[in-house]
Amino acid sequence: MALPDEEKLTAEDFYTRLRRTVPKIRECIEVDHSSFLEMLGMSAARYAEVAFRKSEYSTVEISSLADALSVDIDLLFQGKLDYRALAQQFRRNFSAVPERYADESQWLGRARAAQTIYSHLHISKGEAYARSYFRRFQLRPEAFSEATSYVHPLIAIDLMKDLSSEPLYDEARLRSMGTMNLAMLPAVVREKLEALKTPDVLYPYMFEEHLPKQYDRMFQYKLDRLTDSRCRIVVSTTEFTQNTFAGRNIDNRESCLFRQGVFSSFLGLIGSRFAQINEHSCVHCGGASCSFDVAWN
């Protein structure tokens, strides 16, 4: 029986779904019945009561299960858990990701963006919040411990999209979050960049040497109109990206703002204030390409 849309969901539909989800979880994590009851904080008699529809799962029982599995309670309520990822994460494979992000041939983004978002949340709202935020997407921060490893670009896109719906995450804040990327740069790279001293030397180096090797494989970054006080950066998707994703959207406005923050932060390496960003055009706002000026005076 198919369940109705979320909006028309009745209490009965909701509990039917929950009664289907809970046993499915047990099946996928392959634990014995008594261990599973312990996770739920239920007695066998109480479990039977629910199974025979004489009662429903209580909030405490569902919370207890969600806590034991470190899963998001909303995903559990909505029956949107990815069972394959759940099974692997339960076996302590924390780098397991849901199906949506699993196709390795599409891993063209860097883990650094997810790391930056995690650090940002950790600093501004605490570790518990940062972890629970990643749980919304059935992701574990441990999956992003290597900044330079490749991950699916949709991870950063999803993480940022959801943040932008939270209060205070306006355009300026999303750019600010991008500036935190600076702290994630490997020490070797940072030392090299620190030695460049002035922005008009730093930016060409970034675009010719650093970005092609250290940044993602989805976009090409072109440095344009370099003067002693500003430069223009033009971002476009590579042909490889277009072929890989076959027209599927792997960028959004939030990522564009985040990227602007990343580029403005490079000046921090040479002891200056973060550069000022003047956006020229953005694909996500109807522009032909994403381009913005970086000004340092």
Binding site: A11, F14, Y15, L18, G41, M42, S43, E56, Y57, S58, T59, V60, E61, I62, S63, S64, D72, I73, D74, F77, S119, H120, I123, S124, K125, A128, Y129, S132, R135, R136, E166, P167, L168, R173, S176, M177, T179, M180, L182, A183, R190, E194, S265, G268, L269, G271, S272, R273, F274
Partner: protein, 315 residues
């Protein structure tokens, strides 16, 4: 049922003695009383923020009003379906409802209600909650958490409404807290350093922390601090010039235009803001383990000048 209502009504009026007489069955095995208590407080706060009655909530959840009251008192849990409905009503996540991590400002806004903050602290909102954090941590360290909570209560503030560090608020909030800590003798010349110590942390500096961590010298760190001061508060304008020949900088700190409406240098506060800034700038290199700066004040706004002027050099 009427007896329950009567007792609860009495409780609402402040008489808590009869609460023990409530005909409450034992909590089911495994139920966490703390969770019930927290959920109850969250449900109540949300309702107050949205300015809706217990009756309206009861109707939404198809429950009796008494049940809603019991939930708010932490005496009864809500079923999963009720949580789902409440989350839909307030447009928040069930996870947030259970964890209490809710932005009440946003909830109030959705229901076209004023933020759950005293109106006095919403005027001239050029400060950020971030600015309060060191002060709150300082007071908790000096006088304890209970004292800090009580003090906030006296100012009609609640810690749960101070969770978003970048939430804008009026400088009056900081000034009132400063005034209290001066009046009660918590903030003195001797303890000012402790207050400043609380500012050098990730949680207070936010995204600027990563910038500060990358600075290789005390002087470049202080310059970064001054250049980015506007991210922290916009009540004072910072202008920096090189102090030629002295290998240092000259910093001018001027009150912003809106400050003329605020009593930031009254009898109680005196020149505390100036002393705080001096200590803050001097000690800031400790952030990266460098020696404190040398600071000389050549003009003081709090002693008659239009601005404060500091000559700052590396030690």
């Amino acid at each position: 049922m009427s007896r329950v209502v009567a007792i609860i009504n009495e409780h609402m009026r402040g008489n808590k003695k009869d609460l023990a007489k409530l005909p409450v069955g034992p909590l089911k095995k495994g139920q966490d009383e703390k969770m019930l208590q927290n959920l109850g407080e969250t449900v109540k706060r949300l309702r107050k923020c949205a300015h809706i009655s217990q009756e309206q909530i009861a109707e939404t959840l198809s429950l009796h009003q008494t049940a809603v009251c019991r939930v708010e008192l932490g005496l009864q849990s809500l079923q999963p379906w009720h949580l789902q409905k409440l989350a839909e009503l307030y447009d928040i996540r069930v996870t947030s409802l259970l964890s209490g991590q809710i932005n009440y400002w946003q909830v109030a806004q959705r229901f076209n209600q004023p933020p759950p903050f005293p109106p006095r602290y919403l005027e001239l909102a050029f400060s950020k909650v971030r600015e309060l954090l060191p002060l709150l941590q300082f007071m908790a360290a000096q006088k304890g958490q209970a004292y800090t909570r009580r003090l906030l209560e006296e100012l009609s503030l609640d810690l749960v409404y101070l969770r978003g560090p970048d939430q804008p608020m009026g400088v009056n909030c900081t000034l009132d807290l400063l005034r209290r800590s001066v009046k009660t003798g918590t903030l003195t010349d001797r303890t000012l350093k402790n207050l400043v110590d609380e500012t050098r942390s990730e949680s207070v500096q936010g995204f600027l922390h990563s910038l500060y961590q990358t600075q290789s010298s005390a002087m470049s760190l202080v310059k970064s601090l001054i250049l980015n001061a506007h991210h922290y508060e916009s009540n004072f304008v910072y202008t920096m010039d090189d102090d030629k020949g002295q290998d240092g900088i000259v910093l001018t700190v001027k009150p912003a235009e809106h400050m003329k409406f605020l009593p930031y240098k009254d009898e109680t506060l005196g020149d505390i803001l100036c002393r705080y800034k001096r200590e803050y700038l001097t000690q800031f290199p400790l952030y990266i383990g460098a020696k404190p700066m040398r600071l000389e004040e050549t003009e003081c706004h709090f002693h008659g000048a239009a601005q404060c002027v500091y000559k700052i050099r590396a030690a």
